[in-house]
Amino acid sequence: MHAIRESEPMKNPTHIEQTSDREIVITRTFNGPARLVFEAWTKPELFTRWWLPKSYGMAIVSYEMDIRTGGTYRLALQRGTAEPMVFHGKYVEVTPPSRLVWTNEESPDGPVTTVTFEEKAGKTVVVVHELHPSKEALDRNRGAEAGMPESFEQLDELLAQA
């Protein structure tokens, strides 16, 4: 008999839905208890390992994250030698291991992000709610968030042509 090789666990699907003209909800299950998933969201050295996917070709060049209720954060992202983009805001609520709420203050009409962690039989359902102050704010931020890497690629192309 040969040993069973540990296979790569199946990826759980990510669901995304625009639930109103101000809110987007993202849902994903993780194969681990809530305390560990919460830890990965709230320890800066762990959070910064996954928040910016490698495929984006950008790096987190600096971060200050004081993850407690009332604390603030500041993340600087950079692509190549371009001017870094800075994201900052405040932690409105940090309740281990079930709830995390922060503001996005890089624009005056940024969303409030609420993340809930619900453990079921050793797995954790993570629900991310992004609530924008208005429909117009969501429309503006929509482009910024979703189009981020593409707009950089477009800028690269422009610079290459110059």
Partner: protein, 121 residues
């Protein structure tokens, strides 16, 4: 151009915020239909259905053509794709994030297990 695209997306999202209109799009995705057909299928007055189709038409999601006394509706060229593209790109961002988060969670689980083993020793 950019502003035009934002306005077009706005109109698309507004048009899609209604369940009947989403149903009409789904129906037209399968086959073209007249307003009379659609009104019957959705158990609605002709006037009510005309209004819904009007909103979809303004958003560019549907085009209509009158032949004789029948107005036929069909899906518009690209707009629905544009709406789907945005949400798709955003889903891809979160998917990539979460795939990397999986790896972090796996590592924490392994670490917790080995710490527990060490304690028992």
């Amino acid at each position: 151009m950019v502003q035009y695209r934002v306005d077009a997306l706005d109109a698309s999202f507004a048009a899609l915020s209604d369940a009947t209109r989403r149903g009409v799009l789904e129906r037209l995705g399968r086959a073209d239909a007249s307003i009379t057909d659609l009104a019957e299928k959705f158990d609605m007055t002709l006037t009510g259905m005309k209004k819904h189709v009007g909103v979809l038409e303004q958003a560019g999601l549907v085009t209509t053509e009158k032949v004789g006394r029948v107005r036929t509706c069909k899906l518009g060229p690209h707009r629905l794709q544009e709406v789907a593209d945005w949400i798709d790109r955003y889903r891809q961002l979160w998917e990539s994030r979460f795939d990397e988060l999986d790896a972090v969670v796996e590592e924490l689980k392994r670490k917790e297990k080995s710490d527990a083993r060490d304690k028992r020793k």
